[in-house]
């Protein structure tokens, strides 16, 4: 297969959460999300209370995929930043390397300039986390006999999912 599945360990998860929390505070944003390009939510920070984060993650990935398709048609490699302006809330979306998407929702407590500045710094930090993660996975794949909890999945386990 071309793309290996994404695996996130606790240590990386902590680093991502820490970076998102920092971004959310410094950028005075409402919510910051990190989404896998395949549409899975990796982490979210801020006022997530009444937001359907799962749907938002899937739609963001669809949005980025569609924009990437448009870029290709125009001969561009990609459009790395998207910005949607609303009456109250705005969304700033940017690519983090080839694997993830950073989404920041903000209102008039912040400004596009501040968001862009802070996002740029966080994108670099988050990209470094993903680079390390990729190296870690490569290393663990190279080591024989790594213990995965899924090696012992049985037919009964799967049956139990469907009641």
């Amino acid at each position: 297969m071309l793309n290996p599945g994404l695996v996130l360990f606790e240590e990386d998860s902590r680093l991502i959460d820490k970076e998102l929390k920092k971004l959310n505070e410094l950028a005075r944003a409402k919510v910051s999300f990190l989404v896998d390009k395949d549409g899975q939510l990796i982490s979210s920070m801020g006022e997530t209370g009444d937001i359907d984060t799962t749907s938002l993650a899937s739609l963001t990935a669809g949005n980025i995929a569609a924009t990437g398709g448009m870029a290709k048609l125009l001969g561009e490699k990609e459009f790395s930043i998207l910005f949607h302006e609303g009456e109250k809330d705005n969304i700033h979306i940017s690519l983090v390397g080839q694997r993830a998407i950073l989404v920041v929702v903000f209102d008039d407590r912040s400004s596009l300039g501040l968001i862009r500045l802070r996002v740029k710094r966080s994108v670099a930090a988050l990209a470094a986390v993903f680079d390390n993660l990729a190296k870690k996975i490569e290393k663990s794949n190279a080591q024989e006999g790594g213990q995965s909890p899924f090696q012992e999945i049985t037919e009964e386990d799967i049956e139990s999912l469907f009641g």
């Binding site: 071309l2 599945g5 994404l6 990386d12 549409g39 899975q40 799962t54 090696q151």
Partner: protein, 195 residues
């Protein structure tokens, strides 16, 4: 592709319903949404035209339970079946873990089924996937219609590999969960093999 989060102890997998226009992909999702308990499902999103044809995709997140202490989530997507939405169809296959091909059993839709199947193989290839290696199940939908082709003929035309195939009548739910359950099993077995 699947997402394993050791921190949140969650596994997420992506299943895509593929098939020609009006074959019943969205109806499959609507039935699942209707029947599954509220605590096992998220909101269903449909990006559709004003005439209720799928424009980009439908999305339904399911959280079915736990395996080995990990919450198992399935994200179900449909593609737009109409021929001219090919660019969108291709995008939705990104990162797919399992495919359900929904065929329209009506005799006059046989060409559309074949065309959609070829399109699926081609679009998967562009993402680096081979349908032969992917968890994959076929559903023969609209079995209740008088002009339905026999399952044997459908198998001959669409299922040379003899993958699991289910008869279905999506609006009544017949065959809908059986199809989903089978592909979900295949996806988890694949996860086990890869681990």
């Amino acid at each position: 592709m699947s997402f394993i989060n050791y921190s949140a102890r969650e596994i997420s997998c992506k299943i895509v319903y593929y098939g020609p226009g009006l074959c019943g992909k969205t109806t499959n999702l609507q039935h699942i949404y209707k029947k599954i308990s509220p605590d096992s499902k998220g909101k269903m999103i449909s990006l559709a035209t004003e005439t209720e044809r799928t424009l980009f995709f439908d999305f339904l997140p399911l959280a079915l339970g736990e395996i080995k202490g990990f919450k198992v989530r399935f994200h179900l997507y449909t593609v737009p079946g109409q021929i001219f939405y090919d660019a969108s169809r291709k995008l939705i296959l990104r990162g797919v873990d399992g495919v359900i091909f929904v065929a329209d059993s009506q005799v006059e839709r046989m060409d559309a089924n074949l065309e959609s199947m070829e399109n699926l193989i081609k679009n998967l290839k562009e993402h680096g996937f081979d349908l032969e290696e992917l968890p994959y199940v076929i559903q023969y939908n609209k079995r209740d219609l008088p002009n339905a082709v026999s399952p044997e003929e459908l198998n001959d035309a669409l299922n040379p590999r003899k993958v699991p195939a289910y008869d279905a009548v999506a609006p009544t739910g017949e065959g809908v969960f059986e199809t989903l359950k089978h592909v979900a099993k295949l996806v988890i077995m694949e996860l086990k093999q890869k681990s």
